[in-house]
């Protein structure tokens, strides 16, 4: 039974899926802002990444110091198989429930 995911967790995981191995805090936020059209705080992304990491769905590692960030390192996040499975389960559930009523949802 895959782990149940909260809404924001699903958004973060979707962003990571889009970004692949290059995912890190700032571009995850940009993906979500782009996809949802809402501005969000960077700490919301990191809070969620912490939770996902503790659930064993993602793994993080620190990158190299980068001059454009004032010598600070990026924290890269990698989607683990368990994370991918959980995301798929969430999507399947969502898609299953939405099947056949997509036009009605669009009309709202």
């Amino acid at each position: 039974m895959p782990t149940a995911l909260g809404e924001f967790e699903q958004l973060v995981l979707l962003a990571m899926l889009r970004l692949g191995p290059d995912a890190y805090g700032a571009n995850i936020r940009r993906e979500i802002e782009k996809g949802t059209g809402r501005e969000l705080s960077i700490s919301a992304v990191y809070t969620t990444l912490q939770r996902l990491e503790q659930k064993g769905l993602v793994r993080s590692r620190m990158g190299e110091p980068l001059p454009e960030r004032g010598g600070r390192r990026r924290k890269h996040a990698e989607l683990l198989p368990a994370g991918a499975k959980a995301l798929k389960a969430a999507y399947d559930g969502f898609a299953g429930m939405a099947a056949g009523i997509e036009h009605r949802l669009k009309a709202i």
Binding site: Y24, S43, T47, G70
Partner: protein
Amino acid sequence: MKRLALFLIGIATPSIDREAVVGDTIERFDELCATEGERAAQDWLWREARRVLATSPQHRLAARPAWHQAEVQRRSGVTSSILQDVRYALRWFRRSPGFTAVAVLTLALGIGANTAIFAVVNAVLLKPLPFASADRLMLVHLLMPMREGGLNETIWSFPKYRTLIEGQQVFEDTALFAGRPYSLSGDGDPEVVQGEVITETYPSVLGVRPILGRLFTSDEASRAGATPVAIISHSLWVRRYGSDSAVLNRTLQVDGVTYSVIGVLPRGFTGLSGNAEIWTPLGVTDASSLSGPHDHSYSMAARRRPDASEAAVVSALQVYGTRVDDAYREGPRTAASSSATARSVYDSRVDADLRRAVLIILGAVGFVLLIACVNLTNLLVVKSVARSREVAIRVSLGAGRARVARQFLIESVLLAGAGGIAGVAVASLLLAGAGTLLPDSRVFFETPIAPGAPRIEGAAGLTRVGAGMIGLDLITLAFTAGVAILTTILVSVLPAFQASAVQPLPTLKVAGGQSTARGFGRFGSRAILVGAEISLALVLLAGAGLMLKSASRLEHTSIGVDPENVLSAQLNLPSTRYDRKTGPLFQQNLLERVRAVPGVESAGWGFCMPVSGGCNGTTIWFPPQAQAARRQIVGIAWATAGYFDALRIPVVEGRNFTDTDRIGQPKVAVVNQTAARTYWPGESAIGKRIAVGQGGFQDGAEVVGVVADVRYRTLETAPGPDVFLPLGQSYRGYMQLVVRTHGVTRGLSAAITREVRGLDPNLPIIAVKTMEERIGDAMWRTRVAAWLLSAFAGLALLLTAVGIFGVMAQLVSQRTSEIGIRMALGASRGDVMRLVLGRATLVTAIGLTVGLIAALGLTRVLATLLYQITPTDPVTLVAVAGVLGSVSLLACYVPARRALKVDAVTALRSE
């Protein structure tokens, strides 16, 4: 503004994500600047900061488990790097075994001496007394007006005690006790043990219950003529009765009276006098005291009620004391009337002088440790300078200052730890050594007497701290650990600081770590250390010098007798078996038998032995003057002619006693020179008539002789007026047999025992001592203090010399090339010597000056321990300063000579 926002975002973010979050924010900000302009980016940044601050709690909460995990990892990293430092330090110690040995040995001596002295302080002043709720136990003193004015703390008579406690509200229970020797015979050999005469309340005041049998009833303890009963200690029960529980039916001959044993007290209980093995009821043993208001013989112990504070007890006693004064006052009430006061047993466990002496010695040994620390600091600083190249390499390879300092700190901790452990070994050796010097663990620290203070048995300090109480217990070991920690802090700070301040670049540029950049003038911190060492050593030497001078003055004080080849033994003829006819007969017979022993030169009976704390005092008046006219106190003693001969107390005027000074003949007396001078100034005492309040001499006697003064009280106390009565005219059963031999007194004690046994096999022989032993007893406090202070001062001197030598030698070896250049350029040997010695002399002079000032202030604490010498004795201070100055310069001179041998060519080549 951007910085402030970033700072806020940073502090709002948990540390684990801080770097990434701030980095991401900067990345985004720069991106917005490029696409939408700086203004929009600023607006966004502040919105972002607000959002981050608002969500900070959630973020921290989410990050906590991860942070925790990371922290554990980080700490284990620290632990392993500390282990690495420890391994490195151990390797370094192995590489410099000489240094390590000197350092550990220095600390071991310092810490060990401190531990040993603290063990004594602990036993004498700190260890809880072995009585139930001892904190509520108080000693109650009677205050009596003194002749010289003021009040004197003294002990109680039974009637005054009863008056005092009548209706008292502050004590749960009160008791009287008096320690004294008891002669035991009956089952087994006759022996003399210490015991206590007590009221029946005594065991309950001290909270002790018998392990066998019962305690005294109030009838037994306070009614004259009650059946004689005794309670014995566990030790006596084991020794004399083999732990036989049938002891309760046995009888015991105590001072010639038959007592039934009714109880045995628990193991280890030795009463308030500290060494009692038998207890007898006051009403039986001292029946006559029950009704004698002026028979002040008993100490009073009391347990205060939990709701009565010590202050409340003292103020209540002032009220109760006036009742005693009203009941027993002679003449009208004056301002100086009798009263009472009390002190906790803890305050009076030892007298003030002994307390002061042990604290001074603890202070002295603390100074030694301080000098040892300074020395070690010096060594470590020298070492850290020598290691500056190694440190520079480590720093340039990326080691932080803190990390380098930690390495040095760990080395100090290891050294102090090893020093502490070795110190415990040194302390137990020292205590074992002291134990062999005082082989009898029941040896008690007798109450020493301040010069001139009146001695009242039992009223000064308690004397229940025995040598057997001294040992390495948990409190002492905790003290040692504390000292070791303090030592670590003292010795580690400077080297760690110095090492971490090493500048890698200049250090590495100089080959071999030698720098000629700094001359002799710059040995700053080490000069201060050496100066401090000299000052500390001077204070110690001054104290030791004063004590030594005091001890030698005491040693050379004539007590008025020739102490060589004299032995004395106390023989107490019990009044139950010896009366006024048989007693003198026994004394005469024994004297004749002893005189016949080969090697005996002379023998006599005397009531009082020199330096034994003083004997009897009584009133003296001069017939036909009446007794009450003027009360003067005089020392009184009984003697035979042989007493003055045996002790070689010269008769300076008139004659000695003779065998014809017997009952029936006109009464005669001998006085000492002080008495003659005091009572008949400018006249001859011979032929004058005196009367004294004791010995049946109230009706007057003629002074027939004047003898030289003898110090009866203490070595320090000048003699007072004394009167001697002839034993032939005034019988006393409790006398000292005094014997002088031609040669050594060895074997004499056995001969005397044989002669006594021949006359009376049941008579115990008490306190057989040579006169030299008596003088030794009287001197032990001054001797021990002088010896200990000298030992510590000697150690301090040695450590200081080693310290100065070490610093100078190192300085010279570091400056070899400088000296070589100077010599190559034509400096004379004198110039080089001046160069090396100049600074050292200055430092020595400053150290000596500071030390002298400190000594002038500190030696004052010695004042009450000194004899005929002031604490600021200039001769002593100048002498010790001279000794220390010479040692210091000598320690400098040896390295300085080495400097002269420097070969200019070799020195320059090494550069």
